[in-house]
């Protein structure tokens, strides 16, 4: 008898982490052909079909209708022959909404991986806003190792980078342990920590199957809506939608509406007092989303890596952009020489030139916002596409490239590239450029063009320099950028590249005085420094400067230094108070046995002196 095939809850959208079974389209015992729809599930976006790409007989244990199943968990089985079919409720695959704790306890679940006693589960952490699953890259510790708080036990690949999994508890690492290269949804167990060596289990899971779910409420309390709207991760960088014309919306609802291009005035709020909350915006978004029809390519596909998926989805967005292209030839030699002299990389110099050009043609920096709005942006943030060896494309961002010095940008860039190649960038370092440059000059390409990423209106594609110069092609969103705008911007850019006087002449950032370097500019001065004011601050400052060998002039509004403090403020007040204290004390002297002091007199003149 061959092992049954597990039908799992598929991930039907980017943000889906669990799905609700809406209906079973086939019955237990039915023969299933490849490509048959066996069930429908409700995701965070829509109701979608669950197709099976293998044949067999549908068998229990089967997840109940209305139960919520995490992505990747079993919903039913496919068996090879009719005789192996088991009843739907033979053993629950996952705790269904109707199941009580007692039932679950009396009917042990499918034989799943053993779990060590009194173990603390180590779970797949959510390491980025958009991460829903991670791929195990390495285990940094082995089963049986003693783990101190804060130890990195594993590395995982997210949709953005390879990151560390830290454990904030002490114990011994124990199996069952997720295998390297397995893909684990966020929150699922990847290993266990036990406090005693004897409890260690040395086993590895080859794939994450229908494991027991920790800390999931076993039963939904009565009255809880069955299809809970899952609130997605924070959409950073989106401009919040305007407030609704009537009523109120929460800030997060505005942010989500801005990100999805939804008009808040078209939504009825269900929050306290009719406030529009995030869930209302998401429901509206769900109504808008229709099920996508796709062309099913034949053959056995391999799942995309998280990064491949992110690139594919981003590129799909660009289909909604009406794009056009303009090319200009630029002679890069002068810029090459100038950037070399300045000790900066040519890539950074090109980015800076582009940023300066964009400042003169700000439409390049604007972006279309759904629906029929333009977001104009002051700061130019240049994304530079970098190929990480064998691991896809990342786009680190040089912030405020127009206004920061070449040296500063260059230092940033060296650090960013280094970490980009190791895939150790933080999300804020590769998110939300306002313009992107893809440079394939070093790859011997005659001419190419690129696709602007979501959130930008244009991108540069830089090809290899030939006799005519270096072809620079801009691909731009025609909703925002006109052909003439693009051409003018290209000419400004060409001018900046071919006449890089701005590199040496660029306003230097105010810098700290180096050791041994004088802050006083060379010249014929009567005094090195003039100090205005002769109070305790001015006087001390002047004295200090003189002691350091400078010639100082002090300008004061009185004949003697000392200022308010010495002549009118705290110092005389305290002297007078001290005098008054002494006079008061005299009145008590006699009681303490001190004689002949009971007629104190104040010499006012003396006190003031």
């Amino acid at each position: 008898m061959s092992d049954p095939y597990i039908i799992k809850m598929p991930q039907l959208s980017d943000t889906m982490t669990e799905g609700t079974i809406v209906s079973w389209e086939k019955n237990i015992g039915d023969f299933i052909e490849r490509g048959t729809v066996v069930a429908t599930v409700e995701t965070d976006k829509a109701i979608m079909d669950v197709e099976v790409f293998r044949e067999g007989y549908l068998s229990g244990p089967m997840a109940a209708v209305d139960s919520v199943i995490p992505v990747g968990d079993a919903i039913a089985l496919l068996v090879a022959s009719e005789s192996e079919v088991v009843a739907a409720d033979s053993a629950p695959v996952a705790a269904s909404s109707g199941a009580t704790e007692a039932e679950t306890a009396s009917e042990p679940a499918q034989p799943v991986d053993e779990t060590p006693d009194e173990a603390h589960p180590v779970k797949m952490p959510q390491l980025s806003d958009t991460m829903t699953e991670g791929t195990m890259v390495t285990w940094e510790k082995e089963i049986g190792d003693h783990i101190a708080r804060g130890t990195v036990v594993a590395t995982v690949e997210t949709d953005k980078a390879v990151m560390d999994v830290e454990v904030f508890r002490e114990g011994y690492l124990s199996g069952p342990m997720a295998a390297v290269d397995s893909v684990i949804p966020v929150g699922e167990v990847i290993a266990y920590l036990v406090d005693d060596k004897s409890k260690i289990i040395k086993s590895e899971r080859t794939a994450i199957a229908a494991g027991p779910k920790e800390e999931k409420p076993k039963s939904e309390p009565a009255g809880t809506p069955k299809a809970k709207t899952k609130i997605p991760a924070m959409p950073h960088g989106a401009t919040p939608a305007p407030r609704p014309t009537t009523g109120q919306a929460t800030p997060y609802a505005r942010q989500l509406a801005g990100a999805h291009g939804i008009d808040l005035s078209s939504i009825n709020g269900t929050g306290p007092g009719g406030v529009i909350v995030a869930a209302d915006v998401l429901n509206k978004e769900t109504q808008k989303t229709s099920i996508k029809r796709v062309f099913q390519v034949p053959g056995e596909g391999r799942p995309m890596s998280a990064m491949e998926k992110a690139v594919a989805h981003n590129m799909e967005y660009s289909l909604s952009m009406p794009l056009f292209r303009v090319t200009i030839n630029v002679k890069p030699d002068a810029l090459k020489a100038a950037s070399k002299q300045a000790g900066a990389s040519l890539t950074v110099a090109i980015a800076k030139a582009a940023a300066m050009g964009i400042k003169k043609h700000p439409s390049i920096n604007a972006v279309y916002q759904h629906e029929d709005r333009i977001v104009e942006r002051e700061q130019v943030d240049i994304g530079l596409a970098v190929e990480t060896e064998g691991m896809g494309l990342v786009v680190p961002v040089l912030r405020n490239a127009a206004h920061r010095s070449l040296a500063e940008l260059n230092a940033d860039w060296a650090d960013l590239v280094d970490r980009a190649r190791k895939r150790r960038l933080k999300p804020e370092e590769y998110s939300n450029p306002t313009f992107t440059i893809s440079n394939m000059g070093m790859m011997g390409v005659a001419l190419f063009d690129a696709i602007p990423s979501p959130g930008t209106s244009a991108i540069f594609a830089i090809s290899t320099a030939g006799p005519e110069g270096m072809p620079v092609t801009i691909t731009a969103d025609h909703r925002i950028v006109n052909g003439a705008d693009a051409a003018k911007f290209l000419n400004t850019f060409k001018e900046l590249v071919e006449n890089p006087g701005w590199i040496s002449g660029a306003a230097p950032a105010p810098k700290a005085v180096e050791k041994g370097e004088s802050a006083i500019p060379a010249g014929d001065w009567d005094y090195d420094v003039v100090v205005i004011g002769g109070g305790p601050g001015g006087e001390d400052c002047a004295r200090d400067l003189v002691q350091h060998g400078l010639k100082v002039a002090m300008i004061n509004d009185a004949p003697f230094p000392g200022g308010e403090c010495l002549w009118r403020g705290c110092i005389p007040s305290k002297a007078w108070r001290a005098g008054a204290d002494r006079m008061r004390d005299r009145a008590h002297d006699a009681r303490l046995g001190v004689k002949n002091t009971n007629k104190p007199e104040l010499n006012w003149k003396k006190t003031r002196a």
Partner: protein, 326 residues
Amino acid sequence: MAETAYWEAIRRAHDEEMTNDKMVIAMGEDIGVAGGTYKATSGLFDKYGPERIIDTPISENSYTGIGIGASMVGMRPIIEIMSINFALLALDTIINAAAKIRYMSGGRIACPVVIRTPGGTAHQLAAQHSARLARMFMSTAGLRVVTPRGPVDAYGMLKSAVRCNDPVIIIEHERMYNMKEEMPDEEFFRPLEGAEIVRHGTDITLIGYNYNVHLCLGAADKLAKDGISAEVLDLRSLKPLDRETIRRSVEKTHRVVIAEEDEAPVGVGAEIMAAINEDCFFALDAQPIRVHAADVPVPYNARLEKEAIPDVEDVYQGALKALGKI
């Protein structure tokens, strides 16, 4: 690993640090012969003698000032102030001397003093012995203010504080001195900065510090029974404040409740709310809620005192409000 009470953890940290460095001394009322009002220095007088475990008169300004002065010339005093209410007498020396001397001296004089003091309402100690002045120290530049929630932090943070060159105020809590926690036998340190997520959740963030972290954990248990997944964040350090961890949690859950034992005006909760507004306003899907003491001097009457001070139910109700359920 051994189960250790909060006071034992503090005592152990004193003992280890005094053995490690002769410059470490302890000062305070009744800490020597009597072993400390909360036993935090019990047995140490016999071990280290009256020169290093110093019983002081009931004169907070003087002995705190002496300790602060001693720290400026190389000692590492751990000062116990029996109740944070009495710290008011020593405010001048704490705020004007300890917090500022590094700056006033152009960086030449450090003030590595540690001031430990319980800051909270115990049980029927009445208004003048029930103040919770965390907010006052939190608003003073130049100080570090930490609030260990249990024995592990109480031990590890006191040890870090002794070795830190800044003045550190450690705010403990009368109701925690007998709280127990498993603690490693080997020596360890806990950082003086950084908040900690003590329970992960997705629907709402409950922020606490000091004793009220435990109120948040209790409320999170109640919320879990309603199917609501609450994240509990322990600030650990009020100054400096870990705004980054707060932001990340709020961006995940979009709703927030801040529990503080003090009255609300110009308080810890107000500061956290300001930080949230500045850092992640557009992540909020509901107004942030503060759960705090009634704006009255803490009553002596037991029933009134209970009403005036937040408990688990109050944090739970605050969460329901933030979730739009009441």
